[in-house]
Each structure stands twice: as C-alpha cells, then as structure tokens.
Symmetry: C2
Subunit: 102 residues, 2 copies
C-alpha cells in the first residue's frame, strides 16, 4: 500500500498510467512524450513497476510497458471503505442545526 501511494504521488507517473490505458508502449515512446530525459522516465517506470502498477516485457531491443489493473482494484477497495453504505447510521457531523448551537 505504501509503494502504491508513493508511485501515484507524481504527476509524470500518473500521466504514464493514463497513457498506458490506451495501449502498451515502449520505454522510448513513453519518454518521447515528456520533456524529460530518458533516465528520469526510466526511474519513474521503475517506481510504477515496484508498485505493481505496470508490467514490462522485453521484446528484442525494446521493452514494452503495460498497465496492471489488479493493483488498481486494491486501491479502489481502500477508497470504498470510506463510502458509507446506505443503511449505515449517519456519523456525527460538524455542521449541526444552527438553532441548537450554543
């Protein structure tokens, strides 16, 4: 979970994920779309890989990167814990009825 949020805490990395949504890409093609050196992008890809957000496969000279959706589901589940179920008792609220404020 730590690696996951860390990987997402960078706009370049989030853009990479959005790019991969439309199909797999090589490291070079990804780098070409940013105003940043290839080593920097390589490092970003590494962090995304450590978080299991992407997978990579070498094909000859090229390395193809692809989205790994299963981990996205894990985060989604983390967020959904905060959505109260319709049946749930309402939480105490900061905004109370003005008439009852002392």
């Amino acid at each position: 979970m730590n690696n996951l949020f860390k990987a997402l805490n960078d706009s370049t990395r989030r853009e990479i994920l959005e790019m991969l949504k439309d199909g797999d890409m090589t490291a070079g093609d990804i780098a070409d779309r940013f105003d940043m050196t290839k080593p920097s992008i390589s490092h970003h890809l590494d962090l995304l890989k450590q978080a299991d957000l992407v997978a990579s496969v070498k094909k000859g000279q090229f390395i193809y990167y692809s989205l790994n959706m299963t981990v996205m589901d894990e985060i989604l589940a983390w967020f959904i814990q905060f959505k109260p179920t319709p049946a749930e008792k309402p939480r105490i609220r900061l905004q109370v009825n003005p008439r009852t404020i002392d």
Copy 2:
C-alpha cells in the same frame, strides 16, 4: 489532484482518515493515538486539510476534525477511468497466445 495524492502518500495521514471514518475527533485525541508529537500531527492534519480531505471546526478550546467525503469521490473517479467498460475493445496485451509467439 496533486495535493490529494500528496496527502495520501503517508501512512499516518491515511490512518487518521480511517480513524475519522468512525466519527469526528479533536486534534488532541488524534495525536494521542500516535507515537508522535502533537506538532507533527498538527502538520499532518494541515496537509489533509489543504487537500480538502478533512474539515475542522473550533468549539471553544478544542478543534474537531471530520472527514470530507466529496473529495474522495473525485479520486474514486480518477481510478475508475482505468476500469474498462464491458463493451470496450480489448487492449493489446503483453501475454499473447504462446502458440503464436515467434
């Protein structure tokens, strides 16, 4: 969006959010649950506030913190963009039929 992911990129802050899920709390009560000084927790609360993940209300001597769910929805929407709709054309995959690999 940047502030949002930044705020989530820390396990203390994520724990605070999970605690607030069960009801509002004062800054002091939150701090008491961590092995960390009050100024540090105060700083974490500030980052959560900047990200609009929590709201705070002063009641006399105390400051009550509460979850602000509307921003959670924004993140949730960001993640959902990656979930392919059932009708969508399948993306190119790295794992292809082994029989067809050259």
